[in-house]
């Protein structure tokens, strides 16, 4: 399985909410730039798995069974995906950068 397919499974997007999937959450160059930060050892482990047919839960279980510490990669991708304006703005109603979101009402 390719690393981008793994992340696509974790973050498939939501058409109703207008939230893009991982692959479309930013310009291709930014997404590719992020993918290049993933440790090669993790990419190698993924490549040993079949390319489709998993649910996200089953895939994570499979990786855990192989003794892989998922936390650093998952934390990094959560950082990346949930800081994209294409994801955050439809989910929160606030602009990114925050300084462009105007006076907050609370």
């Amino acid at each position: 399985m390719r690393i981008e397919d793994f992340f696509e499974l974790l973050f498939p997007g939501d058409k109703k909410l207008n939230v893009p999937s991982f692959r479309d959450c930013d310009d291709k160059s930014n997404v590719d730039g992020f993918l290049q930060t993933i440790p090669q050892v993790f990419i190698d482990e993924l490549e040993g798995l079949k390319s489709s047919g998993y649910t996200s839960e089953a895939l994570l279980k499979e990786l855990k069974k192989k003794g892989i510490d998922l936390r650093p990669v998952i934390n990094d991708v959560l950082d990346f995906y949930f800081s994209r304006s294409s994801v955050v703005t439809p989910l929160t109603g606030r602009s990114v950068p925050l300084t462009t979101s105007g006076m907050a009402k609370y």
């Binding site: 959560l78 800081s83 989910l91 606030r94």
Partner: protein, 530 residues
Amino acid sequence: MTPDIIVVGSGMSGAPAAWLLSERGYNVLLIESGADISPAELPTASIDWERKRDSEFNPVAAKRKNLGDYPVDDDQSPIAVCNFNAVGGSSILYSAHFPRFLKPDFTLKSDEDLAVNWPIEYDELLPFFEMNESIVGLAGKVGDTFYPELKQVFNSPVQLGKAGKSLAGGYDQLGWHWWPSYAAINTDQTMKRRLKCHGLGPCNTGCPMGAKATAKNTYLSLGLEKRVILMSEMAVSKLLINDSQVVGVEVVDRDKQVHNILCDKVVLAAGAIGTPRILLNSLNDDNARKIIRKDLIGKNLMMHPLGYAEGYFVDKIDTEKGPQGAMLYSMEFYRPSEPVDFKLGFMMHALRGASPVDTVKSLYGRRKLKFGADIYQQFSENYGHTMGIAIICEDLPDIANKVELDHENLDHLGIPGVKVTYELSNNSKRMMSYGLKKARQVLVSAGAKKTSGFGPIRNTGWHLFGTMCMGSNPKESVVDPNGAVHGLNGAYVFDASVFVTSSCVNPANTIQAVSLYLSDKLDEYIRNAH
């Protein structure tokens, strides 16, 4: 310009000192190891603000490697050292919660037979609290019974919002004390040079609007119009000493060039970690051995152990908006009225909710995050639905808690880093455990469906005190009640390292008031000497 006085560090204590001394007519050279960061460079002005918070704007000193940083080994402490080295210092990233220390905090020995009394009385500091609050434009409401001496504010309180109103209701139901936060935030734009607060939320990643008062946009801004000269990205490595007189400082620039700057009065204001580092590094010089209690430099480090209780609310309470660390506080347990198994007490400091990344990372950390199509619904059910209460515990001095030079870990300029040793006291453990129960109780009373509590939280060592203790007796303290180092003429310490007790409230207001007070004393001393 030949400086009359050198001030080392441009943060909470250095900038007020530089301003007041320049107001009194002195030429002040303010030296800062960090860079001068523009508002546009602050995290919330960019897309990746939450990632920046984990890298160059990370408050955890050991995890950051900016130009002005030095190695901090805090592996021997359950609480990580948090600070920020830049023009404006840690005030760039603080929450701007701005209460004063309370009057009884200065007399623990005589009132409760604990630690020592301060050699400064609260009433002596009072005019300097008032001066400070007028310069930062204190927001809040007069009338808290815990602060009967506070007579004036300059901005309306930060709005409570839905979350604050719920929480206040929870406190009212239990009959417990609460009060709207005192904050150094320009809620009404009373302070004309700064913008009004937009309620963006994460004040502790820096405020690009300038609504939050920092040392930079208040004192430094005023001082630069007077007689303050700022040198940033210059690290003071040690004091230069001749016999028992300070004659200047050694500084290293970003190109590793060493310079000596001569001056017979040097004010150290680099914080409770940075100041002892400079003085300890000066001890290689035989002359510095005249400091009477050099063995106490770096000792008695105090922090505020912090516990965190979180409440989850079914209805959205909008905690993603508004200053994250300024809503309301409670002093109900400043000194608990019921019998408890610990001494002293704590403040309950209400905090708004988590940011987008923090929301999902918190769920992931608790193994609750559902990946795949469900993640979006789960996000919406949690974002803006949580609020927290920090339990800020009063710490006591302990000689075993300390800052030492770490000669194994040098900074990029070749100056030794520091090693921090700190153990959480049993008193703090008991206090925190009790405090977390009480915090969860009030969250339930406010309508929380679920609560959790944990502590001490590691990355919360913002409030650092006590490594250069102040006292009248030169045999028992490092500096005198005027901030002058016992036995070393011309060396002064004006920051939180002189504090002999820690209170249980956020210290920024008191750090600045103490710095102003000591600067006034230095002016008085110089005038009398002439």
